[in-house]
């Protein structure tokens, strides 16, 4: 893999994870919802888009929209039981929901059209890339990068607009406590559910982009580990700050990918290195929570 190709790959991953990080930031950073199941939206988006494009033979754009709608609806539904509850309940309910989504795609191979060695634990391959025929093999990654950046930009604009609107002020007050927004006549439960739906649909968008870039998805790409990496991005970058969320994605991915080359210099096996990388991510979360609660880019305090 040439250096340019690698950098384009890295930039695409940063874009996709940037979207995931922005989405989690809306839920955790701004609203205080401990969503420990972010990977569920990622997984759903990837599978729904694949099904729409591969099974129903519709164009990519329908796959993207389908992924966003289904992931958004899923976010709305899973917040029903916990909408009135404290953050501990959110954490475990979303964590479990993400596992159920993964178990579903692991067990139900018919959803992706069936056929030998397709679906279930085999995963599914041959996912078409949008407008692939218009580009040569060497220029296509640049085109895909452009798609990802457009999506990232759109996500940033939308989430920024939401958090600056009155809606944003309400969810920030929900983060602090329930009573104040309730006294002001705001339906706290509804707001939480809406935030989960909006965040979820962007998570679905990221999943769709991931699936069509790699051309292959399987349930074990969507382990809870992914959720924790996205959490590290939000915490390191700076919660409740959208630029911070993207910066976090860039930093964590740079760290994640640069440590890959360590195996050429250190006598450590690849598997051990992968574990050590996650140890570092875990320690990073703990250290950030202890000494750097605001993250790298602090939340802008606005006086209304």
């Amino acid at each position: 893999m040439g250096l340019v190709n690698f950098l384009v790959y890295l930039a695409i991953m940063m874009g996709i994870y940037g979207i995931l990080s922005l989405s989690l930031n809306l839920q955790y950073g701004f609203t205080g919802l401990a969503n420990f199941g972010q990977v569920a939206f990622f997984c759903l988006g990837a599978y729904i888009s694949t099904i729409v494009v591969l099974v129903f033979k519709l164009p990519f754009i329908f796959g993207l929209l389908g992924a966003m709608v289904v992931a958004g609806v899923f976010g709305y539904i899973i917040s029903i039981p916990t909408a009135n509850l404290r953050e501990d309940y959110w954490a475990i309910a979303t964590l479990a929901a993400a596992e159920v989504v993964r178990i579903f795609f692991l067990n139900e191979d018919w959803v992706v059209g069936g056929g030998p060695y397709q679906g279930g634990s085999f995963g599914i391959g041959g996912i078409p890339q949008p407008l692939r025929s218009l580009f040569s093999a060497s220029t296509y990654p640049f085109f895909y990068l452009a798609i990802v950046l457009v999506c990232l930009f759109a996500t940033y604009i939308v989430i920024n607009a939401i958090t600056r609107a009155p809606f944003g002020r309400v969810i920030k007050s929900i983060r602090t406590e329930d009573n104040l927004p309730q006294v002001l006549g705001k339906n706290v439960k509804r707001f939480r559910m809406k935030v989960m739906a909006i965040g979820g649909s962007f998570g679905g968008m990221a999943g769709c982009l991931w699936a069509h870039y790699h051309g292959f998805i399987s349930p074990n790409q969507f382990l809870p580990l992914e959720t924790f990496i996205i959490w590290a991005m939000v915490i390191v970058g700076g919660k409740a700050n959208n630029k911070g969320a993207i910066l976090g994605a860039v930093i964590i991915l740079l760290f994640y990918n640069s440590t890959r080359f360590l195996k050429d210099y250190l006598p450590i096996e690849e598997v051990t290195l992968a574990s050590l990388r996650m140890v570092a991510i875990g320690i990073l979360i703990v250290v950030a929570m202890l000494f750097m609660k605001e993250g790298l880019i602090k939340e802008k305090k606005t006086i209304y």
Binding site: D88, I92, E99, I103, L106, L276, M278, V279, G282, M289
Partner: protein, 306 residues
């Protein structure tokens, strides 16, 4: 599988879950945060016991006890280094920190011992076979250890000064402190007891099945589910929650929902509907959701505002 057999399997599972959820609920009760590293502490104990048992050649019982006590002590160190600095932080901050700790612990174990399944050196056991069920002496041991832990905790909470101080601190921390109860000392004991129990539970699961770095994550949803079902912060609730969940997990796969829909022949619905085995991990999730919808404060929980 016979009815008696499913009952036995359920009780064994409940005993293992009890050991784990007791600790989770105790830590929640006194520190007011959901400890996502709880089951990972248990796995630390599991691998310490593996080291003592396999590398140093100790028999499994002393290895299990030594490893569990050492893990309990380890959790006190972790509390001093990390959680003590966060006593006044909000629950969500401490919870996210515990998540980071969980990731670090799980992967440290994986880096040291590898990702493959391993086993303790335990002599093959002659199963006890009767007409109705088949069990092993180990399963009877698991049930006994679970019962002993519950009984010990009950005695501790009600008949010792430490236990009374624990209950006082949980009921009203300020009042307890004002009455001269050293809260920090209580917290240290709670960590030690909670994690020692969890480690024992993990080791029992490890002996019965096999040992994996991911076993802590595999059990986190059932353990949380049992804890919440019983009423988070209530040790007796955790015991009942574990019992209900143990039965639900085992009976869930054998209930023919087709017959239930049939309503004893009123509807002519003859298809068999069983939960596929692949969905066994989802059972505790479904129960969790039902509990959250119907009674989030749990069976024995105090009614708290949400």
């Amino acid at each position: 599988m016979t009815f008696t057999q499913i009952v036995i399997n359920s009780i064994v599972r409940a005993s293992e879950l009890t050991l784990l959820s007791l600790g989770l609920t105790m830590v929640y009760d006194i520190l007011k945060f959901a400890n996502f590293a709880h089951t990972e502490f248990a796995v630390v104990g599991v691998y310490l016991a593996l080291f003592l048992n396999v590398a140093l050649g100790l028999p499994i019982i002393p290895a299990a006890i030594m490893a569990s006590v050492a893990t309990g002590a380890f959790s006190i160190i972790i509390d001093r280094v990390i959680f003590k600095k966060m006593r006044n932080a909000s629950g969500i901050i401490i919870m996210v920190t515990s998540l980071g700790l969980a990731i670090a612990l799980r992967n440290t174990i994986r880096a040291i011992w590898g990702a493959d399944a391993q086993n303790y050196l335990v002599a093959l056991q002659k199963p006890i076979i009767t007409e109705y069920f088949r069990t092993t002496p180990l399963q009877i041991w698991i049930i006994l250890v679970g019962l002993a832990a519950m009984f010990a905790l009950h005695l501790l909470l009600h008949y010792t000064k430490l236990g009374k101080a624990m209950r006082a601190s949980s009921d009203n921390p300020e009042l307890a402190q004002a009455s001269g109860i050293a809260t920090e000392k209580i917290i240290t004991w709670v960590w030690f007891i909670a994690v020692t129990f969890a480690s024992l539970g993990g080791i029992l699961i490890g002996i019965e099945t096999y040992i994996l770095p991911y076993m802590g994550f595999a059990i986190i949803v059932p353990v949380f589910c049992a804890t919440i079902m019983g009423g988070i912060g209530n040790p007796y609730g955790a015991m009942i929650g574990a019992l209900v969940l143990g039965f639900a997990e085992n009976f869930g796969l054998y209930i023919n929902f087709g017959k239930i829909i049939n309503l004893g022949g009123i509807l002519n619905f003859s298809k068999d509907i069983l939960i596929p085995t692949g969905y066994k991990p989802a059972i505790s999730f479904i129960i969790l959701i039902l509990v959250l919808l119907i009674r989030p404060s749990g069976i024995l929980g105090k009614k708290k505002e949400g």
